[in-house]
Amino acid sequence: MNKLKIIALFFMNCFLCITVKAQETAGEGVMRSNGKIFVVMAVVVTILIGLFLYLASVDRKITRLEKENK
């Protein structure tokens, strides 16, 4: 369980690093193009990843309870 969390955090970090880097190097990079719509995209994707991680952890908790109850 902890391993999965670490992997997920690692990927989220990578994603953030890439977007920040893109801003720094290009100035008018992908995050600033097209009326900053990609900022919204980054927010939505972060929420999506967070929600799925949460749902997966609830799923695992229920699975553990089911195993205990058997």
């Binding site: 990609f38 995209m41 999506l48 799925f52 799923d59 089911e66």
Partner: protein, 225 residues
């Protein structure tokens, strides 16, 4: 299948695709009627598709319960109805946000809006009904019968009545066309995102419902242990 992992990952990947490519894909200009807000097709409209599918699964389990009264069938029926109702609520709210900028006010008494609100109230009554009966068998049986009525009320409120009158929704001129979405507003590129979005959101709803079912079965076991 419900215990397997692949469809949960598929749901995540489809929604990741929706939430990235959905912002990026070229959308038709449509004489600037909707501008970028047409991208709501990937978020608002799948709520209604997902709601319809989840509520169908719910009534399926209710009928199954009436033929074969098991706690599993009842838990599934109520969990899918709950998730379907949440999807419908989100559809109403996102629709109101969109309408505020598209039609000038969040609630304009559009026949589709009114019909959807009535449908949601009918489903809320399902939970009030279930909550008011303490006997488990009675609750499940009466709930199942009510759920059949509730599901068939979706057809007049969402599919028939909005077609009979003028609607602000695209394609709702008189009795012509579909009052929910105008298929001609979408081009091939949008469809490439729209259908995966519908599948992704629906699978997410199925996942949430399955967790709810498993939780209520555990609670039932604990109560009767």
């Amino acid at each position: 299948m419900i215990r397997q992992r692949w469809w949960k990952i598929l749901s995540f990947l489809l929604l990741l695709y929706t939430c990235t490519y959905g912002f990026y894909v070229k959308v038709p200009r449509l004489d600037d009627r909707m501008q970028e807000s047409i991208r709501n097709f990937f978020f608002h409209v799948p709520m209604w598709f997902g709601m319809m599918i989840l509520l169908f699964v719910s009534v399926w389990y209710s009928v199954k319960y009436l033929r074969n009264p098991t706690i599993q069938n009842d838990s599934n029926a109520s969990a899918f109805a709950a998730t379907g109702t949440v999807f419908g609520m989100l559809g109403l709210i996102t629709g109101a946000i969109w309408a505020n900028y598209q039609w000038g006010s969040p609630w304009s008494g559009d026949p589709k809006q009114n019909g959807a609100a009535i449908a949601m109230l009918i489903y809320l009554a399902y939970f009030v009904l279930r909550g008011s009966i303490t006997d488990d068998v009675k609750k499940a049986r009466i709930g199942a019968v009510y759920n059949v009525f509730a599901f068939f009320m979706l057809f007049p409120t969402l599919w028939i009545l909005p077609r009979l009158t003028e609607s602000l929704h695209p394609g709702g001129e008189g009795s012509e066309g579909n009052p929910g979405i105008n298929g001609q507003d979408m081009d091939a590129h949008m469809r490439m995102v729209f259908y995966p979005a519908v599948l992704g959101w629906t699978l997410l709803g199925v996942w949430i419902s399955s967790i709810k079912t498993r939780y209520s079965l555990l609670a039932y076991q604990k109560m009767n242990a």
